[in-house]
Protein backbone atom coordinates (compact mmCIF):
# COMPACT_ATOMS: atom_id res chain seq x y z
CA UNK A 1 0.00 0.00 0.00
CA UNK A 2 2.55 2.44 1.26
CA UNK A 3 4.85 1.27 -1.47
CA UNK A 4 2.31 1.96 -4.16
CA UNK A 5 1.50 5.44 -2.92
CA UNK A 6 5.10 6.44 -2.92
CA UNK A 7 5.67 4.96 -6.33
CA UNK A 8 2.99 7.09 -7.90
CA UNK A 9 4.68 10.20 -6.55
CA UNK A 10 8.05 9.09 -7.89
CA UNK A 11 9.29 9.73 -11.39
CA UNK A 12 6.94 7.44 -13.26
CA UNK A 13 3.30 8.17 -12.62
CA UNK A 14 0.99 5.23 -13.19
CA UNK A 15 -1.49 5.20 -16.00
CA UNK A 16 0.22 7.77 -18.23
CA UNK A 17 -1.23 8.16 -21.73
CA UNK A 18 1.84 6.76 -23.45
CA UNK A 19 2.00 3.69 -21.19
CA UNK A 20 -1.69 3.04 -21.79
CA UNK A 21 -1.33 3.39 -25.54
CA UNK A 22 1.55 0.91 -25.59
CA UNK A 23 -0.42 -1.46 -23.35
CA UNK A 24 -3.43 -1.36 -25.66
CA UNK A 25 -1.25 -2.00 -28.73
CA UNK A 26 0.49 -4.86 -26.95
CA UNK A 27 -2.81 -6.44 -25.92
CA UNK A 28 -4.17 -6.24 -29.45
CA UNK A 29 -1.13 -7.98 -30.91
CA UNK A 30 -0.83 -10.58 -28.15
CA UNK A 31 -4.48 -11.56 -28.00
CA UNK A 32 -4.81 -11.72 -31.77
CA UNK A 33 -3.99 -15.43 -32.26
CA UNK A 34 -6.47 -16.40 -29.52
CA UNK A 35 -9.09 -14.09 -30.98
CA UNK A 36 -8.51 -15.51 -34.45
CA UNK A 37 -8.89 -19.07 -33.19
CA UNK A 38 -12.22 -18.27 -31.54
CA UNK A 39 -13.33 -16.16 -34.49
CA UNK A 40 -12.66 -18.97 -36.97
CA UNK A 41 -14.27 -21.55 -34.71
CA UNK A 42 -17.62 -19.73 -34.91
CA UNK A 43 -17.57 -19.14 -38.66
CA UNK A 44 -19.56 -21.26 -41.07
CA UNK A 45 -17.37 -23.01 -43.61
CA UNK A 46 -18.14 -20.47 -46.33
CA UNK A 47 -16.83 -17.61 -44.17
CA UNK A 48 -13.65 -19.27 -42.87
CA UNK A 49 -11.85 -19.18 -46.20
CA UNK A 50 -12.46 -15.84 -47.86
CA UNK A 51 -10.00 -13.75 -49.82
CA UNK A 52 -10.68 -10.85 -47.45
CA UNK A 53 -10.75 -12.32 -43.93
CA UNK A 54 -13.86 -11.58 -41.90
CA UNK A 55 -12.99 -10.10 -38.53
CA UNK A 56 -16.30 -11.22 -37.08
CA UNK A 57 -18.44 -14.10 -38.30
CA UNK A 58 -21.44 -12.76 -40.27
CA UNK A 59 -23.64 -15.62 -39.20
CA UNK A 60 -22.03 -17.18 -36.14
CA UNK A 61 -22.59 -20.90 -35.90
CA UNK A 62 -21.85 -23.81 -33.62
CA UNK A 63 -21.59 -26.17 -36.55
CA UNK A 64 -17.81 -26.48 -36.22
CA UNK A 65 -18.11 -27.57 -32.61
CA UNK A 66 -20.84 -29.93 -33.66
CA UNK A 67 -18.67 -31.37 -36.39
CA UNK A 68 -15.69 -31.78 -34.04
CA UNK A 69 -17.69 -33.45 -31.29
CA UNK A 70 -19.70 -35.61 -33.64
CA UNK A 71 -16.65 -37.16 -35.20
CA UNK A 72 -16.90 -40.82 -34.33
CA UNK A 73 -13.50 -40.67 -32.66
CA UNK A 74 -14.09 -37.67 -30.40
CA UNK A 75 -15.62 -39.33 -27.35
CA UNK A 76 -13.22 -42.23 -27.52
CA UNK A 77 -10.34 -39.76 -27.63
CA UNK A 78 -11.71 -37.67 -24.81
CA UNK A 79 -12.17 -40.82 -22.72
CA UNK A 80 -8.55 -41.86 -23.39
CA UNK A 81 -7.32 -38.43 -22.35
CA UNK A 82 -9.42 -38.39 -19.19
CA UNK A 83 -8.27 -41.83 -18.04
CA UNK A 84 -4.62 -41.12 -18.69
CA UNK A 85 -4.73 -37.66 -17.15
CA UNK A 86 -6.72 -38.89 -14.16
CA UNK A 87 -4.30 -41.75 -13.51
CA UNK A 88 -1.32 -39.43 -13.81
CA UNK A 89 -2.77 -36.84 -11.44
CA UNK A 90 -3.72 -39.44 -8.84
CA UNK A 91 -0.35 -41.17 -8.84
CA UNK A 92 1.66 -37.97 -8.97
CA UNK A 93 -0.24 -36.34 -6.12
CA UNK A 94 -0.33 -39.34 -3.75
CA UNK A 95 3.29 -40.36 -4.31
CA UNK A 96 4.34 -36.73 -4.39
CA UNK A 97 2.66 -36.00 -1.09
CA UNK A 98 4.40 -38.82 0.77
CA UNK A 99 7.77 -37.94 -0.70
CA UNK A 100 7.31 -34.23 0.00
CA UNK A 101 6.41 -34.99 3.61
CA UNK A 102 9.63 -36.96 3.97
CA UNK A 103 11.73 -34.23 2.36
CA UNK A 104 10.26 -31.35 4.36
CA UNK A 105 9.38 -32.61 7.85
CA UNK A 106 12.33 -34.88 8.50
CA UNK A 107 16.05 -34.45 8.52
CA UNK A 108 17.99 -37.44 7.40
CA UNK A 109 21.17 -38.37 5.67
CA UNK A 110 21.02 -37.99 1.89
CA UNK A 111 18.07 -35.60 1.92
CA UNK A 112 19.95 -32.85 0.13
CA UNK A 113 21.29 -35.26 -2.47
CA UNK A 114 17.75 -36.45 -3.17
CA UNK A 115 16.54 -32.88 -3.60
CA UNK A 116 19.28 -32.11 -6.11
CA UNK A 117 18.53 -35.37 -7.95
CA UNK A 118 14.87 -34.38 -8.20
CA UNK A 119 15.80 -30.97 -9.59
CA UNK A 120 18.03 -32.55 -12.23
CA UNK A 121 15.45 -35.15 -13.22
CA UNK A 122 12.90 -32.40 -13.58
CA UNK A 123 15.06 -30.62 -16.11
CA UNK A 124 15.81 -33.70 -18.22
CA UNK A 125 14.48 -33.33 -21.74
CA UNK A 126 11.40 -35.42 -22.32
CA UNK A 127 13.10 -36.84 -25.40
CA UNK A 128 15.81 -38.41 -23.22
CA UNK A 129 13.25 -40.75 -21.67
CA UNK A 130 11.33 -41.27 -24.89
CA UNK A 131 13.64 -43.74 -26.62
CA UNK A 132 14.45 -46.07 -23.69
CA UNK A 133 10.87 -46.03 -22.41
CA UNK A 134 9.66 -46.86 -25.90
CA UNK A 135 12.07 -49.80 -26.14
CA UNK A 136 11.19 -51.20 -22.73
CA UNK A 137 7.44 -50.74 -23.21
CA UNK A 138 7.74 -52.39 -26.60
CA UNK A 139 9.31 -55.44 -24.94
CA UNK A 140 6.87 -55.71 -22.05
CA UNK A 141 3.77 -54.86 -24.06
CA UNK A 142 2.99 -51.48 -22.53
CA UNK A 143 3.03 -49.56 -25.82
CA UNK A 144 -0.43 -48.35 -26.71
CA UNK A 145 -1.79 -48.96 -23.22
CA UNK A 146 -3.15 -46.53 -20.64
CA UNK A 147 -0.80 -47.90 -17.99
CA UNK A 148 2.25 -47.27 -20.15
CA UNK A 149 1.27 -43.72 -20.97
CA UNK A 150 0.42 -42.99 -17.34
CA UNK A 151 3.83 -44.27 -16.21
CA UNK A 152 5.59 -42.18 -18.83
CA UNK A 153 3.72 -39.08 -17.63
CA UNK A 154 4.32 -39.78 -13.97
CA UNK A 155 8.04 -39.85 -14.74
CA UNK A 156 7.75 -36.28 -16.00
CA UNK A 157 5.28 -34.92 -13.46
CA UNK A 158 6.31 -36.54 -10.17
CA UNK A 159 9.51 -34.56 -9.51
CA UNK A 160 7.65 -31.34 -9.96
CA UNK A 161 4.74 -32.53 -7.88
CA UNK A 162 7.14 -33.31 -5.02
CA UNK A 163 8.75 -29.89 -5.39
CA UNK A 164 5.45 -28.00 -5.28
CA UNK A 165 4.02 -29.99 -2.38
CA UNK A 166 7.21 -29.59 -0.39
CA UNK A 167 6.67 -25.84 -0.42
CA UNK A 168 3.28 -26.31 1.20
CA UNK A 169 4.63 -28.67 3.86
CA UNK A 170 7.37 -26.21 4.78
CA UNK A 171 4.77 -23.50 5.31
CA UNK A 172 3.11 -25.49 8.13
CA UNK A 173 4.55 -24.17 11.41
CA UNK A 174 6.53 -26.72 13.32
CA UNK A 175 4.79 -25.75 16.59
CA UNK A 176 1.60 -27.50 15.47
CA UNK A 177 3.54 -30.68 15.01
CA UNK A 178 5.30 -30.34 18.34
CA UNK A 179 2.04 -29.71 20.17
CA UNK A 180 0.57 -32.89 18.72
CA UNK A 181 3.66 -34.82 19.68
CA UNK A 182 3.42 -33.59 23.25
CA UNK A 183 -0.21 -34.75 23.28
CA UNK A 184 1.13 -38.20 22.44
CA UNK A 185 0.48 -38.43 18.70
CA UNK A 186 2.67 -40.83 16.72
CA UNK A 187 4.51 -39.84 13.57
CA UNK A 188 1.83 -41.43 11.40
CA UNK A 189 -1.00 -39.79 13.31
CA UNK A 190 0.70 -36.43 12.87
CA UNK A 191 0.97 -37.04 9.14
CA UNK A 192 -2.57 -38.27 8.56
CA UNK A 193 -4.48 -36.15 11.04
CA UNK A 194 -2.55 -32.90 10.89
CA UNK A 195 -0.13 -32.45 8.02
CA UNK A 196 -2.01 -33.99 5.10
CA UNK A 197 -5.22 -32.03 5.74
CA UNK A 198 -3.19 -28.85 6.12
CA UNK A 199 -1.47 -29.23 2.75
CA UNK A 200 -4.72 -29.85 0.84
CA UNK A 201 -4.24 -26.61 -1.15
CA UNK A 202 -0.89 -27.98 -2.24
CA UNK A 203 -2.60 -31.10 -3.48
CA UNK A 204 -4.93 -28.95 -5.56
CA UNK A 205 -2.05 -26.92 -6.99
CA UNK A 206 0.05 -29.92 -7.93
CA UNK A 207 -3.02 -31.72 -9.33
CA UNK A 208 -3.58 -28.81 -11.65
CA UNK A 209 0.03 -28.77 -12.77
CA UNK A 210 -0.05 -32.53 -13.36
CA UNK A 211 -3.32 -32.20 -15.22
CA UNK A 212 -1.92 -29.55 -17.54
CA UNK A 213 1.27 -31.49 -18.28
CA UNK A 214 -0.55 -34.73 -19.08
CA UNK A 215 -3.44 -33.10 -20.91
CA UNK A 216 -1.09 -31.11 -23.17
CA UNK A 217 1.44 -33.79 -24.01
CA UNK A 218 1.73 -34.54 -27.68
CA UNK A 219 5.16 -36.11 -28.17
CA UNK A 220 4.83 -39.19 -25.94
CA UNK A 221 1.24 -39.96 -26.89
CA UNK A 222 2.06 -39.46 -30.57
CA UNK A 223 4.95 -41.90 -30.29
CA UNK A 224 3.34 -44.53 -28.06
CA UNK A 225 -0.32 -44.54 -29.16
CA UNK A 226 -0.26 -45.42 -32.82
CA UNK A 227 -3.81 -46.72 -33.40
CA UNK A 228 -6.51 -44.16 -33.90
CA UNK A 229 -8.62 -45.52 -31.06
CA UNK A 230 -5.68 -45.02 -28.70
CA UNK A 231 -5.24 -41.32 -29.54
CA UNK A 232 -5.44 -38.71 -26.84
CA UNK A 233 -6.92 -35.27 -27.55
CA UNK A 234 -3.75 -33.47 -28.73
CA UNK A 235 -2.87 -36.27 -31.15
CA UNK A 236 -6.44 -36.33 -32.39
CA UNK A 237 -6.40 -32.57 -32.84
CA UNK A 238 -3.12 -32.54 -34.77
CA UNK A 239 -4.42 -35.24 -37.11
CA UNK A 240 -7.58 -33.29 -37.83
CA UNK A 241 -6.93 -32.86 -41.53
CA UNK A 242 -8.22 -35.46 -43.92
CA UNK A 243 -6.40 -36.17 -47.15
CA UNK A 244 -9.56 -35.69 -49.22
CA UNK A 245 -10.94 -32.35 -48.07
CA UNK A 246 -7.68 -30.87 -46.79
CA UNK A 247 -7.55 -29.25 -43.36
CA UNK A 248 -10.94 -28.21 -42.06
CA UNK A 249 -9.76 -25.05 -40.31
CA UNK A 250 -13.11 -24.25 -38.77
CA UNK A 251 -13.34 -27.69 -37.22
CA UNK A 252 -9.71 -27.64 -36.15
CA UNK A 253 -10.07 -24.25 -34.48
CA UNK A 254 -13.25 -25.42 -32.73
CA UNK A 255 -11.35 -28.49 -31.55
CA UNK A 256 -8.51 -26.25 -30.37
CA UNK A 257 -10.96 -24.14 -28.37
CA UNK A 258 -12.46 -27.22 -26.71
CA UNK A 259 -9.00 -28.61 -26.00
CA UNK A 260 -7.56 -25.33 -24.65
CA UNK A 261 -10.52 -24.30 -22.52
CA UNK A 262 -9.86 -26.43 -19.42
CA UNK A 263 -6.21 -25.41 -19.41
CA UNK A 264 -7.04 -21.72 -19.71
CA UNK A 265 -9.55 -22.03 -16.85
CA UNK A 266 -6.97 -23.74 -14.65
CA UNK A 267 -4.34 -21.15 -15.51
CA UNK A 268 -6.68 -18.38 -14.45
CA UNK A 269 -7.46 -20.22 -11.18
CA UNK A 270 -3.84 -20.77 -10.21
CA UNK A 271 -2.68 -17.45 -11.63
CA UNK A 272 -0.99 -16.39 -8.39
CA UNK A 273 0.89 -19.65 -7.93
CA UNK A 274 1.99 -19.72 -11.54
CA UNK A 275 5.06 -17.58 -11.43
CA UNK A 276 6.66 -19.25 -8.42
CA UNK A 277 5.51 -22.68 -9.55
CA UNK A 278 6.82 -22.50 -13.05
CA UNK A 279 10.21 -21.17 -12.12
CA UNK A 280 10.62 -24.45 -10.26
CA UNK A 281 10.19 -26.13 -13.61
CA UNK A 282 6.47 -26.65 -13.98
CA UNK A 283 4.73 -26.43 -17.28
CA UNK A 284 7.36 -27.34 -19.78
CA UNK A 285 7.43 -25.61 -23.13
Amino acid sequence: MNNRLRRSRAGNPKGGALANAIAVAFCLVWVFPVYWMVNTAFKPRSEAMTSTPLFLPKSPTLSNFDAAINQTTFYRTLWNSLIVVGGTVLLAVVLGMFAAAALSRFRFRGRRAIMVAILIVQMLPGSALLIPTFLVFNRVGLLGTYAGLILAYVAVVLPFSIWVMRGFFIAVPVEIEEAARIDGASTWQILYKILFPLVAPGMVASSIFAFIAAWNDYLVAYTFMKDQDQYTLPVWLASFSTPITGTDFGGQMAGSVIFSLPVVVFFLIIQRKLVSGVSAGAVKG
Partner: protein
Protein backbone atom coordinates in the same frame (compact mmCIF):
# COMPACT_ATOMS: atom_id res chain seq x y z
CA UNK B 1 38.21 -19.04 5.96
CA UNK B 2 37.04 -19.72 9.52
CA UNK B 3 37.35 -16.30 10.99
CA UNK B 4 33.67 -16.18 11.89
CA UNK B 5 33.13 -15.43 15.58
CA UNK B 6 31.81 -18.19 17.76
CA UNK B 7 28.33 -16.71 17.71
CA UNK B 8 27.46 -19.14 14.97
CA UNK B 9 28.44 -22.27 16.80
CA UNK B 10 25.55 -22.20 19.22
CA UNK B 11 23.28 -22.33 16.22
CA UNK B 12 24.80 -25.28 14.47
CA UNK B 13 22.83 -27.72 16.57
CA UNK B 14 19.62 -25.86 15.99
CA UNK B 15 17.51 -27.27 13.22
CA UNK B 16 15.73 -25.20 10.69
CA UNK B 17 12.26 -24.13 11.82
CA UNK B 18 10.44 -26.46 9.45
CA UNK B 19 12.36 -29.51 10.54
CA UNK B 20 11.23 -31.00 13.82
CA UNK B 21 14.12 -32.16 15.93
CA UNK B 22 14.59 -35.88 16.03
CA UNK B 23 16.86 -37.58 18.48
CA UNK B 24 17.10 -41.00 16.98
CA UNK B 25 17.10 -41.63 13.25
CA UNK B 26 13.66 -42.62 12.09
CA UNK B 27 12.71 -44.89 9.25
CA UNK B 28 9.58 -42.86 8.58
CA UNK B 29 11.07 -40.63 5.87
CA UNK B 30 12.34 -43.64 3.96
CA UNK B 31 8.95 -45.34 4.10
CA UNK B 32 7.37 -42.15 2.82
CA UNK B 33 9.93 -41.78 0.06
CA UNK B 34 9.92 -45.37 -1.12
CA UNK B 35 6.83 -45.39 -3.39
CA UNK B 36 7.93 -42.27 -5.28
CA UNK B 37 11.52 -43.48 -5.22
CA UNK B 38 10.58 -46.83 -6.67
CA UNK B 39 8.57 -45.22 -9.45
CA UNK B 40 11.35 -42.78 -10.27
CA UNK B 41 13.94 -45.52 -10.32
CA UNK B 42 11.93 -47.56 -12.80
CA UNK B 43 10.62 -44.81 -15.06
CA UNK B 44 13.49 -42.32 -14.90
CA UNK B 45 16.80 -43.64 -13.61
CA UNK B 46 16.66 -47.05 -15.31
CA UNK B 47 15.61 -45.60 -18.69
CA UNK B 48 18.49 -43.10 -18.58
CA UNK B 49 20.95 -45.93 -17.97
CA UNK B 50 19.29 -47.94 -20.72
CA UNK B 51 19.48 -44.96 -23.08
CA UNK B 52 23.21 -44.67 -22.58
CA UNK B 53 23.56 -48.43 -23.07
CA UNK B 54 21.48 -48.33 -26.26
CA UNK B 55 23.67 -45.59 -27.69
CA UNK B 56 26.51 -48.16 -27.79
CA UNK B 57 24.46 -50.64 -29.84
CA UNK B 58 23.12 -50.93 -33.37
CA UNK B 59 19.51 -51.18 -32.17
CA UNK B 60 17.31 -50.92 -35.27
CA UNK B 61 13.78 -51.46 -36.44
CA UNK B 62 14.45 -55.17 -36.73
CA UNK B 63 15.61 -55.32 -33.12
CA UNK B 64 12.19 -54.07 -32.05
CA UNK B 65 10.69 -57.37 -33.19
CA UNK B 66 13.54 -59.81 -32.71
CA UNK B 67 15.17 -58.28 -29.67
CA UNK B 68 18.63 -58.89 -31.10
CA UNK B 69 21.23 -56.20 -31.54
CA UNK B 70 24.99 -55.87 -31.26
CA UNK B 71 27.45 -53.85 -29.27
CA UNK B 72 29.18 -51.41 -31.57
CA UNK B 73 31.21 -49.44 -29.07
CA UNK B 74 31.52 -45.76 -29.95
CA UNK B 75 30.59 -46.25 -33.59
CA UNK B 76 27.24 -44.41 -33.32
CA UNK B 77 29.04 -41.40 -31.87
CA UNK B 78 31.85 -41.35 -34.42
CA UNK B 79 29.29 -41.73 -37.21
CA UNK B 80 27.44 -38.69 -35.86
CA UNK B 81 30.57 -36.60 -35.50
CA UNK B 82 31.41 -37.39 -39.14
CA UNK B 83 27.92 -36.45 -40.28
CA UNK B 84 27.59 -32.82 -41.40
CA UNK B 85 23.83 -33.09 -40.76
CA UNK B 86 24.52 -33.51 -37.07
CA UNK B 87 26.70 -30.40 -36.88
CA UNK B 88 24.14 -28.42 -38.84
CA UNK B 89 21.36 -29.53 -36.50
CA UNK B 90 23.49 -28.66 -33.46
CA UNK B 91 24.33 -25.25 -34.88
CA UNK B 92 20.67 -24.61 -35.72
CA UNK B 93 19.65 -25.58 -32.20
CA UNK B 94 22.18 -23.24 -30.63
CA UNK B 95 21.42 -20.27 -32.89
CA UNK B 96 17.67 -20.78 -32.75
CA UNK B 97 17.73 -21.11 -28.97
CA UNK B 98 19.81 -17.93 -28.71
CA UNK B 99 17.38 -16.04 -30.96
CA UNK B 100 14.33 -17.26 -29.03
CA UNK B 101 15.82 -16.55 -25.61
CA UNK B 102 17.02 -13.09 -26.65
CA UNK B 103 13.67 -12.22 -28.22
CA UNK B 104 11.52 -13.41 -25.36
CA UNK B 105 13.69 -11.82 -22.69
CA UNK B 106 13.84 -8.47 -24.48
CA UNK B 107 10.07 -8.33 -24.95
CA UNK B 108 9.42 -9.84 -21.52
CA UNK B 109 11.55 -7.22 -19.77
CA UNK B 110 9.83 -4.43 -21.68
CA UNK B 111 6.38 -5.76 -20.77
CA UNK B 112 7.36 -6.14 -17.09
CA UNK B 113 8.50 -2.53 -17.11
CA UNK B 114 5.27 -1.53 -18.81
CA UNK B 115 3.23 -3.31 -16.13
CA UNK B 116 4.82 -1.18 -13.41
CA UNK B 117 3.53 1.93 -15.14
CA UNK B 118 -0.07 0.89 -15.54
CA UNK B 119 -3.04 1.58 -13.31
CA UNK B 120 -4.82 -1.45 -11.86
CA UNK B 121 -7.49 -2.00 -14.54
CA UNK B 122 -5.07 -1.83 -17.44
CA UNK B 123 -2.53 -3.98 -15.62
CA UNK B 124 -5.16 -6.64 -15.04
CA UNK B 125 -6.11 -6.58 -18.72
CA UNK B 126 -2.52 -7.06 -19.81
CA UNK B 127 -2.10 -9.86 -17.26
CA UNK B 128 -5.15 -11.70 -18.55
CA UNK B 129 -3.96 -11.36 -22.14
CA UNK B 130 -0.58 -12.73 -21.08
CA UNK B 131 -2.18 -15.68 -19.33
CA UNK B 132 -4.33 -16.46 -22.38
CA UNK B 133 -1.23 -16.69 -24.57
CA UNK B 134 0.63 -18.67 -21.94
CA UNK B 135 -2.18 -21.14 -21.26
CA UNK B 136 -2.67 -22.27 -24.84
CA UNK B 137 -1.46 -25.86 -25.18
CA UNK B 138 1.39 -25.91 -27.68
CA UNK B 139 -0.47 -28.28 -29.98
CA UNK B 140 -3.38 -25.84 -30.19
CA UNK B 141 -1.16 -22.80 -30.62
CA UNK B 142 0.87 -24.53 -33.36
CA UNK B 143 -2.33 -25.34 -35.26
CA UNK B 144 -3.55 -21.77 -34.83
CA UNK B 145 -0.18 -20.60 -36.15
CA UNK B 146 -0.48 -22.75 -39.25
CA UNK B 147 -3.88 -21.23 -39.87
CA UNK B 148 -2.69 -17.65 -39.24
CA UNK B 149 0.19 -18.11 -41.70
CA UNK B 150 -1.75 -20.15 -44.24
CA UNK B 151 -0.94 -19.17 -47.85
CA UNK B 152 -3.99 -17.90 -49.69
CA UNK B 153 -6.42 -17.45 -46.81
CA UNK B 154 -4.16 -16.75 -43.82
CA UNK B 155 -4.90 -13.50 -42.03
CA UNK B 156 -1.22 -12.62 -41.51
CA UNK B 157 -0.54 -12.62 -45.25
CA UNK B 158 -3.64 -10.52 -45.77
CA UNK B 159 -2.59 -7.99 -43.11
CA UNK B 160 0.94 -7.78 -44.53
CA UNK B 161 -0.43 -7.29 -48.03
CA UNK B 162 -2.71 -4.51 -46.76
CA UNK B 163 0.25 -2.85 -45.04
CA UNK B 164 1.85 -2.86 -48.48
CA UNK B 165 5.44 -2.83 -47.26
CA UNK B 166 6.44 -6.12 -48.86
CA UNK B 167 4.09 -6.09 -51.83
CA UNK B 168 1.49 -8.77 -52.42
CA UNK B 169 2.10 -11.54 -49.92
CA UNK B 170 -1.22 -13.33 -50.28
CA UNK B 171 0.34 -16.58 -51.43
CA UNK B 172 3.55 -16.50 -49.41
CA UNK B 173 4.12 -20.00 -48.09
CA UNK B 174 5.86 -19.50 -44.74
CA UNK B 175 6.43 -23.17 -44.02
CA UNK B 176 8.21 -23.64 -47.33
CA UNK B 177 10.81 -20.93 -47.03
CA UNK B 178 13.72 -21.60 -44.65
CA UNK B 179 13.90 -18.09 -43.23
CA UNK B 180 10.16 -17.54 -43.05
CA UNK B 181 9.61 -20.93 -41.44
CA UNK B 182 12.08 -19.97 -38.72
CA UNK B 183 10.54 -16.56 -38.36
CA UNK B 184 7.02 -17.89 -37.85
CA UNK B 185 8.16 -20.51 -35.33
CA UNK B 186 10.25 -17.88 -33.56
CA UNK B 187 7.20 -15.64 -33.30
CA UNK B 188 5.17 -18.54 -31.91
CA UNK B 189 7.74 -19.41 -29.25
CA UNK B 190 8.28 -15.80 -28.24
CA UNK B 191 4.53 -15.23 -28.09
CA UNK B 192 4.16 -18.02 -25.55
CA UNK B 193 7.42 -17.41 -23.66
CA UNK B 194 6.91 -13.72 -22.93
CA UNK B 195 4.08 -14.16 -20.38
CA UNK B 196 6.14 -16.19 -17.91
CA UNK B 197 9.15 -13.92 -18.27
CA UNK B 198 7.13 -10.70 -18.03
CA UNK B 199 5.15 -11.82 -14.97
CA UNK B 200 8.24 -13.16 -13.19
CA UNK B 201 10.21 -9.98 -13.81
CA UNK B 202 7.23 -7.87 -12.82
CA UNK B 203 7.02 -9.76 -9.53
CA UNK B 204 10.68 -8.96 -8.98
CA UNK B 205 10.21 -5.31 -9.95
CA UNK B 206 7.51 -4.81 -7.32
CA UNK B 207 10.21 -5.60 -4.74
CA UNK B 208 12.52 -2.91 -6.06
CA UNK B 209 13.21 -0.41 -3.24
CA UNK B 210 12.13 2.97 -4.55
CA UNK B 211 14.62 4.89 -2.46
CA UNK B 212 17.37 3.79 -4.80
CA UNK B 213 15.60 5.10 -7.86
CA UNK B 214 14.72 8.33 -6.13
CA UNK B 215 18.28 8.84 -4.99
CA UNK B 216 19.52 8.29 -8.53
CA UNK B 217 17.00 10.79 -9.87
CA UNK B 218 17.96 13.37 -7.29
CA UNK B 219 21.52 12.93 -8.41
CA UNK B 220 20.34 13.93 -11.87
CA UNK B 221 20.20 10.57 -13.63
CA UNK B 222 17.89 10.32 -16.63
CA UNK B 223 15.22 7.64 -17.00
CA UNK B 224 17.41 5.31 -19.00
CA UNK B 225 20.37 5.83 -16.70
CA UNK B 226 18.21 4.98 -13.67
CA UNK B 227 17.03 1.83 -15.37
CA UNK B 228 20.51 0.79 -16.42
CA UNK B 229 22.29 1.53 -13.15
CA UNK B 230 19.57 0.79 -10.58
CA UNK B 231 16.81 -1.40 -11.97
CA UNK B 232 18.90 -3.72 -14.11
CA UNK B 233 21.41 -4.71 -11.41
CA UNK B 234 18.47 -5.36 -9.07
CA UNK B 235 16.86 -7.63 -11.67
CA UNK B 236 20.04 -9.48 -12.55
CA UNK B 237 19.53 -12.61 -10.39
CA UNK B 238 15.95 -13.04 -11.62
CA UNK B 239 17.03 -12.39 -15.21
CA UNK B 240 19.72 -15.01 -14.83
CA UNK B 241 17.27 -17.66 -13.64
CA UNK B 242 14.73 -16.78 -16.31
CA UNK B 243 17.42 -16.88 -19.00
CA UNK B 244 18.69 -20.29 -17.93
CA UNK B 245 15.18 -21.73 -17.78
CA UNK B 246 14.44 -20.28 -21.21
CA UNK B 247 17.59 -21.85 -22.62
CA UNK B 248 16.54 -25.24 -21.24
CA UNK B 249 12.98 -24.94 -22.52
CA UNK B 250 13.81 -23.46 -25.91
CA UNK B 251 16.55 -25.97 -26.59
CA UNK B 252 13.90 -28.64 -26.05
CA UNK B 253 11.26 -27.14 -28.32
CA UNK B 254 9.72 -29.94 -30.30
CA UNK B 255 5.93 -29.73 -30.79
CA UNK B 256 5.92 -26.31 -32.39
CA UNK B 257 8.59 -27.12 -34.98
CA UNK B 258 7.20 -30.58 -35.64
CA UNK B 259 3.66 -29.33 -36.18
CA UNK B 260 4.40 -26.07 -38.00
CA UNK B 261 7.21 -27.06 -40.37
CA UNK B 262 8.01 -30.71 -39.49
CA UNK B 263 11.68 -29.74 -39.65
CA UNK B 264 11.44 -28.61 -43.25
CA UNK B 265 11.64 -27.29 -45.89
CA UNK B 266 14.23 -29.96 -46.64
CA UNK B 267 15.85 -29.93 -43.23
CA UNK B 268 16.10 -26.18 -42.77
CA UNK B 269 14.36 -26.19 -39.36
CA UNK B 270 15.67 -29.55 -38.19
CA UNK B 271 17.05 -28.83 -34.75
CA UNK B 272 18.77 -31.43 -32.60
CA UNK B 273 15.49 -32.60 -31.08
CA UNK B 274 13.80 -33.03 -34.46
CA UNK B 275 16.91 -34.72 -35.85
CA UNK B 276 16.96 -37.21 -32.96
CA UNK B 277 13.27 -37.94 -33.32
CA UNK B 278 13.56 -38.48 -37.06
CA UNK B 279 16.56 -40.74 -36.61
CA UNK B 280 14.96 -42.84 -33.88
CA UNK B 281 11.28 -42.91 -34.80
CA UNK B 282 11.06 -42.22 -38.52
CA UNK B 283 14.19 -43.91 -39.83
CA UNK B 284 14.21 -46.25 -36.80
CA UNK B 285 17.99 -46.07 -36.43
CA UNK B 286 17.38 -46.30 -32.72
CA UNK B 287 20.99 -46.79 -31.62
CA UNK B 288 22.00 -43.59 -33.38
CA UNK B 289 18.94 -41.78 -32.10
CA UNK B 290 19.97 -42.80 -28.58
CA UNK B 291 23.45 -41.39 -29.13
CA UNK B 292 21.89 -38.10 -30.27
CA UNK B 293 19.66 -38.11 -27.22
CA UNK B 294 22.64 -38.67 -24.94
CA UNK B 295 24.45 -35.70 -26.47
CA UNK B 296 21.38 -33.46 -26.16
CA UNK B 297 20.86 -34.53 -22.57
CA UNK B 298 24.49 -33.91 -21.70
CA UNK B 299 24.27 -30.35 -23.04
CA UNK B 300 21.08 -29.73 -21.09
CA UNK B 301 22.39 -31.22 -17.88
CA UNK B 302 25.32 -28.81 -18.08
CA UNK B 303 22.92 -25.87 -18.38
CA UNK B 304 20.77 -27.34 -15.60
CA UNK B 305 23.77 -27.57 -13.31
CA UNK B 306 24.24 -23.84 -13.81
CA UNK B 307 20.57 -23.29 -13.07
CA UNK B 308 20.67 -25.29 -9.85
CA UNK B 309 23.80 -23.51 -8.71
CA UNK B 310 22.05 -20.22 -9.28
CA UNK B 311 18.96 -21.44 -7.47
CA UNK B 312 21.04 -22.40 -4.47
CA UNK B 313 22.86 -19.08 -4.52
CA UNK B 314 19.63 -17.12 -4.75
CA UNK B 315 18.78 -18.57 -1.35
CA UNK B 316 16.51 -21.45 -2.28
CA UNK B 317 16.65 -23.75 0.72
CA UNK B 318 17.03 -27.39 -0.15
Amino acid sequence: MTTQPLAGTSRTSRLRPHAPSRRRPSWAPWWLLSPAGLVMLTVTAAPIVFLIYTSFTDYSQRSLFTGTYHQVGLRQYTALFDDPQFWQALLRSVLFTAAMVAGSIAVGTAVAQLLTRLATAMRLTVTIVLILAWAMPTVASSLVWKWLFQPGYGVVNWLLTQAGVFGDMTNTDWANDPFLAYLSIWLLIVWQAVPFIALTLYAALTQLPLELQEAARLDGAGEFRVWWSVTLPFLRPTLMLVALLSVIWDFNVFNQIWLVSAGGPDSATTTLGIFAYRTAFVAFRIGQGAALSVITTAILVAVTALYIRNLLRSGEDL
